[in-house]
């Protein structure tokens, strides 16, 4: 499951993720990290059953945590199964099934937003 962790400027110097890993023994995978002088945003992947626990620990250390369930949302009424999104996604989230219908494996998404721009039919949006 994906968790979007945001830190304020103050908390950024503290190794929250490392500390949580050490404390809980749960391995987290960092999908994407964006850190500048004002704030930090890190997308991590954790085992489903540990997601709530990890979020709680991180919150206790001062980070904001949001569980992303359907990170990228596809509007079926707008999608025409053109496949423009398939080749630009860095994580192979999109594929065709046997009948050339688009399949979305959103659990792999790292929220880079490329597909949101690339979809000619404005069928894709990022969960807010």
């Amino acid at each position: 499951m994906k968790l979007l962790v945001t830190f304020s400027r103050k908390k950024m110097r503290e190794p929250i993720i490392a500390r949580v890993v050490k404390e809980t023994g749960v391995l987290v995978c960092i999908d994407r990290a964006q850190i500048d002088s004002a704030a930090g945003e890190v997308l991590i992947d954790v085992p489903d059953k540990e997601a709530t626990y990890i979020s709680e620990r991180m919150r206790a250390m001062g980070a904001q945590v949001r569980i992303l369930e359907n990170a990228i949302i596809r509007d079926e009424n707008e999608c025409v199964d053109c496949g423009a999104c398939i080749s630009i996604c860095p994580r192979e989230v999109f594929t065709f099934d046997e009948e050339w219908k688009l399949q979305v494996s959103e659990e792999r998404c790292v929220l880079c937003r490329r597909c949101v721009l690339a979809c000619p039919h404005h069928a894709l949006s990022q969960q807010e």
Binding site: D81, W100, L117
Partner: protein, 502 residues
């Protein structure tokens, strides 16, 4: 054996016609042989559904009271062409909204109309004796118009070259998003299911034949614009009644960074008259070849990296420069199949009969590039030929002296054999003074990724490079990477006026 159009239409009327979609024809020919397939199959339906920029519609709005000659008019702020009589207009799919930018265009107006929405018409006129009114604003639904006739100058390309990008920056094109370093490949068209590949000799597809267009019954007018059957790129000009069309087969789209376009479903029902038609409709994706074009080269004649077949493209991966690259169709094959299947049902139900062309399409045409009477200026004509350069193993101090003496802000850096390997700016030199720990040679502080131009590049393209990379000078190199000039924003300023004086 031969079959007549008349006998096929008889079978359509009495319900005994045998129709298949084009994707099934190769298997049938394999199973029954060509003669067997000719006996068995009467009609092959085809379909394609993809971005067709050269599309639009004629409208007749009816007269207001007092009447007005719509000289300039907008539909939901998208301008339509009003230079035809008083209340006729043509709206093109790629025309962009004056208020909503590229996310809304002519295509979106057409889709809004077809899906039952209300569209605001705004028109102005200078006023004449016969048409005294000066302006009008009114909300319209499709049924309020006297006519809404789709006329698409160029649809249903026989095949279309695939696109990739060898540069190091993402490109946003009408072929979709193209990732840097050949990061992906996009293509368009339904391959062997599309109408024209099934009749490359244009025997049964021609002027006057009924077709499937946007979910309604339409008609082929004639050759599409840029029709180039001699090179395997035939196109069709088609028409149909917008009022009968359905949003299932007519969809507005926006190619980010390019603008609006219209996805149109087009299909033809091809009569199987003789063995030749059996052969042409048995075409498969691996028999249709296209080039992979590098859209990173800003020229009309872009180099082809390799050729591929639709079978390669549809497999999802293609090898480019020794690496596997993922492919994206921009057209929907699923929708193309729906077009062919819908058309099949129409023929089977006796709702759609076949006709032969009233006039055959030209089979020899070849599309030519634009004749340009004014040559666009080249970098060679405005570049500065006095080049001050340093070599990479000289001292930073030497670079500083040259910058000062040459009264320039950029110095190209050369290697031992005189090839361009970097660039140093006054900014780099000042930084080096403050941070001496980085080293004392030019090579320690130079920028190695040098954006460059060539003497034959057009000035417009060079200007775009400066702008896109936010820089103010480009070394001009020959084919051997020797620097033969510098092009600066100031040189461009002389040509374009104020805009380039930074």
């Amino acid at each position: 054996m031969e079959k007549s159009i008349h006998s096929i239409n008889e079978k359509i009327r009495d319900g005994s016609v045998h129709v298949i979609t084009a994707d099934r024809m190769p298997a049938i020919v394999q199973e029954l042989g060509e003669e067997g397939a000719l006996r068995e199959v009467d009609v092959v339906t085809t379909g394609t559904f993809g971005a067709m920029c050269s599309s639009g519609a004629f409208f007749n709005f009816g007269h207001s009271d007092p009447p007005l000659k719509m000289e300039h008019l907008w539909l939901n702020d998208v301008e339509a062409y009003g230079g035809i009589a008083a209340v006729d207009a043509y709206l093109g799919a790629t025309e962009q909204s004056t208020t909503r930018g590229e996310s809304y265009g002519g295509a979106h107006v057409l889709e809004d109309f077809v899906s039952g929405g209300s569209v605001e018409l705004r028109a102005i006129s200078r006023g004449t004796d016969c048409y005294p009114r000066r302006n009008i604003t009114t909300d319209l639904h499709l049924e309020d118009l006297n006519q809404a006739v789709m006329v698409n100058p160029r649809n249903a390309y026989q095949r279309y070259n695939a696109a990739t990008n060898t540069t190091d920056r993402t490109l946003f094109t009408y072929m979709g998003m193209l990732l840097p370093g050949c990061g992906n490949l996009t293509y368009s068209g339904a391959g062997a299911l599309a109408p024209l590949p099934n009749d490359p000799n244009l025997r049964t597809i021609g002027s006057g034949i009924p077709i499937f267009l946007g979910g309604a019954k339409g008609m082929v007018i004639g050759e599409g614009t840029q029709h180039s059957p001699a090179t395997g790129f035939a196109t069709l000009m088609v028409t149909g009644d917008l009022k009968q069309m359905s949003p299932d087969f007519l969809r507005a789209a926006t190619m980010y960074g390019y603008g609006a376009t219209l996805y149109v479903g087009v299909g033809a029902a091809i009569p199987i008259l003789d063995v030749d038609m059996v052969r042409s409709t048995a075409i498969t994706d691996d028999q249709i070849t296209v080039s992979v074009i590098d859209y990173g080269i800003p020229q009309r004649d872009r180099p082809a990296l390799r050729s591929v077949t639709y079978a390669d493209l549809k497999s999802g991966k293609v090898e480019l420069r020794g690496e596997e690259v993922r492919t994206s169709p921009l057209s929907s094959y699923r929708k193309a199949l729906q077009v062919a299947t819908t058309l099949k049902t129409w023929v089977e139900k006796g709702e759609f009969t076949i006709a032969l062309p009233t006039r055959h399409l030209d089979r020899t045409m070849r599309s030519r590039p634009l004749r340009e009477t004014k040559r666009t200026p080249r970098v060679r004509e405005i570049m500065d030929r006095q080049v001050v350069s340093v070599t990479e193993d000289e001292l930073i101090r030497t670079a500083a002296e040259k910058l000062l003496k040459g009264e320039t802000n950029h110095i190209p850096v050369l290697d031992r054999v005189g090839k361009l390997v970097g660039i140093v700016t006054t900014y780099d030199v000042s930084k080096a003074v403050l941070r001496p720990e980085k080293g004392g040679l030019v090579r320690d502080i130079m920028t190695r990724r040098v954006i460059r131009t060539t003497p034959e590049e057009t000035v417009d393209i060079a200007a775009q490079k400066l702008e896109k990379n936010n820089i103010s000078a480009l070394p001009v190199v020959d084919s051997e990477d020797h620097v033969i000039g510098m092009l600066t924003a100031i040189d461009l300023g002389k040509l374009f006026g104020g805009r380039w004086q930074s």
